[in-house]
Symmetry: none
Subunit: 285 residues, 2 copies
């Protein structure tokens, strides 16, 4: 080994949040943690600043805390868990399966699509359906999260193992509520990439909502890509025959056409989970 000792690893989102002195320690917080955010810095000050900027949330005590330079190993906070506070699925209503015996309860990763595990797609899928059918009581179905404007809130997410490689396997997750009968976790159809997953997740969420008489839906996703596709680029692409500004083809045309179709007759508010954290930062800066 014989590495150079210097350096501070800031972990803004991970199993624990804080500054670590070795890559190994840092890696332990971060490895396998979905949408982890971490970075190495030459000074503690910069490391702390990074955490302040990227962890989305701090404890009220955090601001002062970060300033005291002596504090190395910061406490364990799970930002997301707090922002989302009430109803957000800190982890999963998704059927738990083998794999990745999630780490600790508190800091459960935002995304635990255990069920996406390839080898079990069929089984899981089937089980999910049975599950939904079985518990299809009115009481359950009406148990949506609804915002002040009457929009039903749904969280969507896509994941893709080995993204970019030919063995890639992608899956989607749709979350209406804890153990909600409409929750979905399924494999992706067609091209297996992270983005096809995110897009299909949104599409499935919408179709599922429609089937249940919902006509106002708030989709929360961390895929800025999907949001941009729908809110910024889609109309233009429909006009210009799906040409990128760079001249190439729109890679996700097929999925986007389906999504666009699903969107008809549904009022949708798109919410970026990322944006939410950013907004939150304004409390601190």
């Amino acid at each position: 080994m014989g590495k150079k000792a210097g350096g501070f690893y800031a972990v803004a989102r991970g199993r624990s949040v804080g500054v670590f002195l070795t890559w190994d320690e840092c890696k332990a917080q971060v490895d396998g943690f979905t949408s982890a955010r971490y970075k190495k810095f030459p000074t503690t000050e910069e490391a702390n600043a990074f955490i302040a900027e990227h962890s989305g949330v701090q404890h009220s005590s955090a601001a002062t805390h970060l300033k005291s330079s002596s504090l190395r190993y910061a406490p364990k906070v799970n930002p997301t868990a707090e922002i989302m506070g009430l109803q957000k699925p800190s982890s999963s209503g998704y059927s738990a399966s083998t794999k990745k015996t999630l780490s600790i309860n508190s800091a459960a990763p935002k995304r635990d699509f255990s069920s996406l595990k390839v080898t079990e797609d069929r089984v899981i899928n089937k089980r999910a359906k049975m599950d939904r059918a079985a518990s299809n009581s009115r009481a359950d179905l009406s148990n949506f999260n609804v915002d002040e404007g009457g929009f039903v809130v749904v969280y969507t997410d896509g994941a893709c193992t080995k993204n970019g490689r030919k063995a890639a396997k992608a899956g989607i997750g749709v979350w209406f509520g804890n153990s909600h009968p409409l929750n979905i976790s399924e494999p992706v159809e067609g091209r297996q990439t992270n983005n096809t997953a995110e897009i299909q997740a949104a599409e499935r969420a919408i179709r599922e909502a429609k089937l249940n008489g919902i006509n106002k839906l708030m989709i929360k996703t961390d895929s800025q890509f999907t949001i941009n596709c729908v809110t910024k680029w889609l109309n233009n692409w429909k006009r210009n025959n799906w040409r990128l500004s760079s001249g190439g083809d729109v890679k996700n045309k097929e999925d986007l056409v389906k999504l666009d179709d699903a969107m008809q007759n549904m009022e949708i508010k798109w919410v970026s989970l990322c944006t939410m954290s950013c907004l939150f930062n304004q409390f601190f800066f």
Copy 2:
């Protein structure tokens, strides 16, 4: 130029040692291999340098040794690796600083202009100078890479954060060799764009070379724009009062005049890093 055609994957420690053209091939050598050492580079030269530096053997008698080693270790190596042969640096002697979580010692990517980080330009710049001054011994200075024609080889590069926006910050890099005392990393003066950066990088390289009695210089850059300016358009612009064929002004006149001035009394071979890979392709297509 790494983006489209993919780069070159150097495997220094793995099932086989060598340069590979796809991530899949590289992965095959490396996956599950204890303490594998590998990295992607935009050029074969850099890939070979990485292998030379990390494959365990070596050091001391660099030049000749490297040649044979790359041959020996490169079973599947594409022709290029052998054709290009020499010993190009993996990368930067640039002072490391914050940003982009530099990797360990030597094998940073071609562009790790950590030092370009805005807030620290001054400091970094100062440090770079001290650094150079401090180690300014004859022994070091004579340690240039020289081609068969007696041209000293230097790599130049420019970078520009937020290129095209008003917050843009540009910087230059000049690389004569690993930890070479003449290496430069500095902020750009004047307009902050990618092209001013590339041009100023070349100019600085020439001036630095001149100060050290060099009169034959091979400049390797991936800026086709800079090369075209100098080798195709400059003479014409000097004649026609810096008019574009479209009638407008030459945007980079100021920097190009300085570059032109620096070029006097210096024999220069301009080499496009891009062209090199392209040439290579002709072996296969």
